[in-house]
């Protein structure tokens, strides 16, 4: 395999693995946050506004971890710097 093939191979597999592993933690975290928020609203319906706002902010915080993984995998697939580097090398050499 030449270096271009290796870069493509590694990038595609790593993108998939990044997304797969990176979605597990935030999914569990968001589920727990939503569960506790729902039970908190059930106990204190008067505090619904505060709980909902805090839930949204914390969900966004948790979800940003999954978004980081997504951005990494997008960069690996669509805007891979190593691919460009080796493509230039392969064309020149």
């Amino acid at each position: 395999m030449d270096s271009l093939t290796v870069v493509a191979f590694a990038s595609i597999i790593t993108a998939g693995v990044t997304m797969a592993l990176g979605a597990i933690g935030p999914a569990l975290g968001e589920g727990m946050a939503a569960k506790h928020a729902v039970s908190a609203i059930a106990q204190q319906p008067d505090e619904k506004n505060t709980i909902t706002r805090t839930l949204f902010v914390s969900l966004a915080m948790i979800e940003s971890i999954a978004i980081y993984c997504f951005v990494i995998s997008m960069i690996l697939i669509f805007a891979n710097p190593f691919w460009d580097h080796f493509a230039v090398l392969a064309k020149g050499g």
């Binding site: 506004n49 706002r53 940003s64 978004i67």
Partner: protein, 235 residues
């Protein structure tokens, strides 16, 4: 959707016009469009607004939006919202409108580009010390050395990473939605992308809300942390 191809990750790469060395990318053009819409709306409706009981429907919309933002700011900061309204309200309206226009064909949200979101996050990064110093004078800098001076680098690092997180979060959400729509259009062209577009409207508004709420929380933590201690410190 055709304006941003699947293998282009950012609307910065789409050049709409070009005069000599001036390149107008899709990000720039649509940012101007949103600024124009917001300005025109505010000027047209604001000029004709009356304190009367009978109001036009546009003034009603303006009052609902502004009232909602003021209420949210007041709930977080527990003080007069006018002080923060100009900054937080602008952030919310700009991001919200740029995300809502996603349903218009041929439009690419400028928030799907990392340059726009980084610029917005930098304004928040600068606004925190500006509000903090204007409120607490030198007390703002004392916060960096709490509880001991060893924590100074961690405070600075925290400010930098939360700015980065603010930029990446908005960019990632909107860009990922763009990509999901583009991929779905290629796979199941007719019905399913419409449903995802409806979901995208929700995601866009939630992200605009989150961005402005987080900016408000950061500013409030800078302006209020010192005051509370002063109150409790007094006998």
């Amino acid at each position: 959707m055709e304006i941003l191809r699947l293998n282009q990750i950012s609307p910065d790469q789409v050049i709409l016009f070009q005069w000599g060395f001036v390149h107008v990318s899709a990000t720039l053009a649509y940012t101007w469009l949103i600024m124009g819409i917001l300005l025109a709306f505010a000027l047209l409706v604001g000029r004709r607004s009356t304190p009367d009981v009978k109001i036009t429907r546009w003034q009603n919309l303006l009052e609902v939006v502004v009232g909602g933002i003021r209420e949210q700011i007041h709930e977080i900061s527990q003080e007069d919202p006018d002080h923060y309204m100009a900054f937080i309200g602008t952030l919310f309206l700009f991001i919200g409108l740029s995300n809502l226009l996603l349903i218009v064909p041929g439009y690419v949200a400028p928030t799907a580009s990392l340059t726009t979101t980084a610029a917005l996050a930098v304004t928040v990064f600068l606004a925190v010390p500006i509000y903090g110093i204007s409120r607490n004078r030198m007390g703002y800098f004392r916060e960096y050395f709490q509880p001991t001076f060893i924590f100074f680098p961690f405070h600075v690092m925290g400010e930098l990473t939360r700015t980065l997180a603010l930029a990446i979060r908005l960019f990632g959400n909107i860009m990922s939605h763009d990509k999901v729509i583009a991929i779905l259009l290629a796979v199941t062209p007719l019905f399913f992308p419409v449903v995802m577009h409806a979901l995208g409207l929700l995601i866009g508004m939630v992200q605009a809300y989150i961005f402005s709420i987080l900016a408000m929380v950061y500013i409030a933590s800078a302006t209020q942390a010192h005051e509370e201690k002063q109150h409790t410190g007094k006998p």
